[in-house]
Symmetry: C2
Subunit: 205 residues, 2 copies
């Protein structure tokens, strides 16, 4: 189960299923079906059943899926049945917004260290975290055994810092810098560039 032959596009949908199950649970639902989930998300019910079938059998014929149980299973598959510490690099406006975001912890993530290179920021506190110098990246990341980093620095220094993150043992980077990072194949990168989204939509205007 959950072997490496599961297509990446399937993995990418699981967090969306999980998020929607959490919403259903909050709405007081206890049971759902691939059809109901699909209608809410704009996916076909067949796709949802197929995606889940890569990992096991989680439903009951004639009834559907127990929401609580399917949430547990998806969290386990995605390895978010725990809380991952993350490094944040970049304490600008975006860095501050991320540092104050309350949505990480309930979904498996928590900021554990913040880095920036501006002398006036180093040593200050954001929430309950101290801002470290980027020179301290290797030491702090290894001490805290962090595997995930959020990159929220200007584009012109992002590739350089990405390299340092990889050197320091980071395996996954949430990249807010508006460029493609070149990293070793074993390192995962997920890009967030709002303008890419906006430009894609502008085509249809």
């Amino acid at each position: 189960m959950a072997d490496h032959s599961v297509p990446e596009i399937v993995i990418g949908r699981l967090p969306i299923y999980l998020r929607t199950l959490e919403l259903f649970a909050k709405e007081g639902k206890t049971i759902t079906s691939s059809q109901e989930l699909g209608e809410r998300l704009g996916f076909s019910s067949a796709q949802i059943r197929k995606d889940l079938s890569f990992f096991g059998e989680f439903g009951k014929q004639g009834t559907g899926y127990n929401i609580e149980y399917l949430q547990e299973q998806l969290r386990e598959i995605l390895k978010v049945d725990r809380v991952w510490g993350m490094a944040l690099v970049g304490a600008g406006d975006l860095g501050h917004a991320l540092a104050h975001y309350r949505g990480f912890e309930p979904r498996g993530f928590r900021l554990a260290a913040i880095f920036d290179n501006a002398p006036e920021k180093i040593g200050t506190r954001i929430g309950d975290l101290r801002v470290h110098a980027i020179a301290d990246l290797p030491r702090v990341l290894r001490e805290m055994k962090l595997k995930i980093a959020i990159l929220a620095v200007p584009a012109d220094v992002a590739q350089n810092i990405a390299h340092q993150l990889v050197e320091a043992g980071i395996c996954a980077i949430l990249n807010y810098a508006p460029l493609h990072l070149t990293v070793p194949a074993r390192v995962k990168v997920y890009d967030i560039d709002p303008v890419v989204g906006l430009q894609g939509m502008a085509y249809y205007l």
Copy 2:
């Protein structure tokens, strides 16, 4: 050219090509090739040529692509050869970060109005924009003829506000709320949920 039969997945890559061409130009390059672009981005050169071929012939055999010219063409195709005004709904931490972001304007977008429902925020200024009450959405959006909105409000009010945006004539929504919005088919939505990205990467840890 540029008709509606171009796959959405192709449209989604054009902004990434454009972004990289801008980087190349900044690095002083004037010519590139599908191979060079592909190597930088991790795409095959064939894919890049095929994607571009939906819209015309922009290259020269034996030489490649003039970067300046291809940028112009992509901007025209994507309709970002102009600057689109956008409404921002939600003046929290994220809203402030977006309001201060300098990366929109050079790539075809500009915040034109900000809305929030907190009485203590209404009437205050963020940058050079006044914060309007959400009740003023229909009037202001129509007056300014805005077609694009950024939704940066808590999840529990996002669907309701999305509906108001659509009613007020919005055609494209950049959605930062962590849930799937239900909107008419003619309205485009692009979702940004950092936790979805993180959870997808956590699977591979």
